[in-house]
Amino acid sequence: MDKFILKYFNAIRISIAITIGVVISFFLIFLISKNPGASLSYLFLSPFLSSIRMENLISAASPIIFCGLAIAIPFQARIFNVGAEGALFIGSVTGVVFAIVTKMPPLIHIPLTLLVAGLAGGIWGLIPGFLKAKWNTSELVVSLMMNYVAYFFGLYIINYYFRDKAAGALVSLKISTSVWIPTLPFFSRTSWTIVIALAFAFLVYFLLYHTTLGYEIRTTGFNQHFAKFGGINVFKIIILAQIIGGFIAGVGGMTEMMGIHHRFNWQISPGYGWDGVVVAIIGRNHPILIIFASLFLAYLRIGGQYLNLMSDVPYEMVSVIQSVIILLITAEAFLVQWKERITVKEAERKEISHGTTS
């Protein structure tokens, strides 16, 4: 038993954190809802109750996966770039503009548009990356400010140059069908976006753990001095990690436009970048774990939407739960005493028994 706990300690810790988050949501619902039973079932069961909702869940998970990956790569290099939100936003704006002004057959148009969106996101990663690498400017503050810049600048571009005046809301012109990401076979509304997201997750996994670049990124994160001393070009890695992150976020944002909205329609920043931070923390920056964390978060989100719609409990309860969960997960010492007690017990048993004083 002890050995099992030691081996799977991290998984157990994360599960307990999630459980506590869920228990708190029970508690909150019982506190505020007039019909707690129904509210609970909206939150936790409704996402499974129809195939459409399941599909919604999967669709909701894809941008979160993208942003989780976008955050995880700089985080692995211990760079606190939280600019996925801005990269996602500016990537989508640029991608939509590109899609509107160009005409191509789908087979070229789709990948090229994604590439353009990714490059715009990459530039959003390059700026804090370069400032950090060159002058050690706080990437956290800069990337945060860049989120606001992306938002206002993006809206300016859309509202002043590509606005669909026929539409009632502030949205862009429609993008041509040649850049629509088609629906998956056998699904009614889930597009290929989820497949692209999963492919990215596996690519990032391969990148981080099986390539020289991934080794450089992780080593920079473990100990920057050591990396520098060993000959790794830390300057380059700090910038590159953030460019790649921004690229993935940009692609992720654009897939939303190409798969679902078919035009730019975000009037407020969608918050996927922050979801990315959440799932990167829950998944401990591991791409494969990020997939599961994103599905979990999407599940809470879909449940939260039904809860909001059908009951007297607002959607933001999900934000409360998720922040409690990540707070507990970042707390390195949360449950560690328990682990240490077991470790010490094991070591004492081994050492003292064959220890004789000479």
Partner: protein, 309 residues
């Protein structure tokens, strides 16, 4: 440029600088104190939100300004405590824990706002008290200067007085000495029996206190209601302001005035047929530029050898 120049040269513009500086100066002081102790508080954004919300709600329910102030301050200090607890006791990375707390603040204030006001945007439907404006005797009579300096919200004056208070705290009190010692070499402080974690916690509590003042000013001075995410990045601009000011009282004051100036300019540009998206960009772009220039200077100081002569 004509109309802009006219309005910038008007006393109202000078007045506006102080008005918009206040919600940056308070959290910047908070960030500075926590940084001096070596545990930077970037949960200011969340702290301000929670306090802004608490103040408005308590004011609505009790109709008592003092209780609202007290509750708002308490909420801010609790945020500081939570960050301290998770960072110092549970060994969370202070940046990640702060990110989580900011999310918590954003989500929970909207959550509560909906429960109480049945609105997810603002609390305009709930009447909140505001902190009074103060007209300085004598000074208000002075032309121009009086118009700029007098008539501000009382919290603006509190913010400026806080600079003196913090100077005194840091350089003249044992707590200040210990805060500096802990920030410079925690082991040294530990070795003479100073409880490092406790000092760091105190610094986070104090920083929460100042963050709270910033939040209260926003919702009960700057305007008279709470709006979702109404801090709009000021908590982070405060981090930049604290850095720019070298975490020292006077420096923080000057850099906050600078950010006040930029924000006021942005506001004055708004009616001048400049796209609003552009004017809203200005504070954020300026923060990036200012922070970059500052870090260039710091890294020059570190690296160059003779260019300084």
């Amino acid at each position: 440029m004509g109309p802009l120049l006219d309005s910038i040269l008007s006393p109202e513009f000078g007045f506006a600088i102080f008005r918009v500086m206040t919600p940056i100066l308070f959290p910047a002081i908070g960030v500075a104190i926590s940084s001096l102790a070596g545990s930077i508080n970037i949960a200011m954004e969340g702290t301000m939100l929670i306090s802004a919300f608490t103040g408005v709600m308590v004011s609505y329910f009790t109709k008592n300004l003092y209780l609202a102030l007290l509750a708002g301050l308490l909420a801010g200090v609790i945020m500081g405590f939570l960050l301290g607890y998770f960072h110092l006791k549970l060994k969370a990375d202070i940046i990640l824990a702060a990110i989580a707390l900011n999310m918590f603040a954003s989500g929970s204030t909207i959550f509560m706002l909906f429960l109480i006001a049945k609105d997810k945007g603002t609390s305009i439907s709930l009447r909140s008290l505001v902190f009074p404006k103060v007209h300085l005797p004598l000074i208000k009579e002075i032309p121009i200067i009086g118009e700029i300096i007098s008539g501000h919200n009382i919290l603006t004056y509190v913010a400026i007085l806080s600079i003196i208070f913090v100077y005194f705290l840091i350089y003249k009190t044992p707590l200040g000495l210990r805060i500096r010692a802990v920030g410079q070499n925690p082991d040294a402080a530990e070795s003479v029996g100073v409880d490092v974690k406790r000092i760091k916690l105190y610094s986070l509590l104090i920083s929460g206190f100042f963050g709270a003042l910033g939040g209260l000013y926003l919702s009960m001075g700057y305007v008279s209601w709470f709006g979702r995410d109404m801090t709009a990045g000021r908590g982070f601009i405060a981090v930049a302001a604290s850095n720019l000011g070298g975490h020292l009282p006077l420096g923080v004051f000057i850099s906050s005035i600078f950010f006040g100036l930029i924000n006021a300019t942005a506001i004055y540009l708004a009616p001048l047929r400049v796209p609003s998206e552009f004017t809203q960009l200005i504070p954020y772009v300026t923060t990036i530029i200012a922070l970059t220039l500052y870090s260039i200077r710091v890294s020059r100081k570190k690296k160059t050898s003779k260019s300084e002569v």
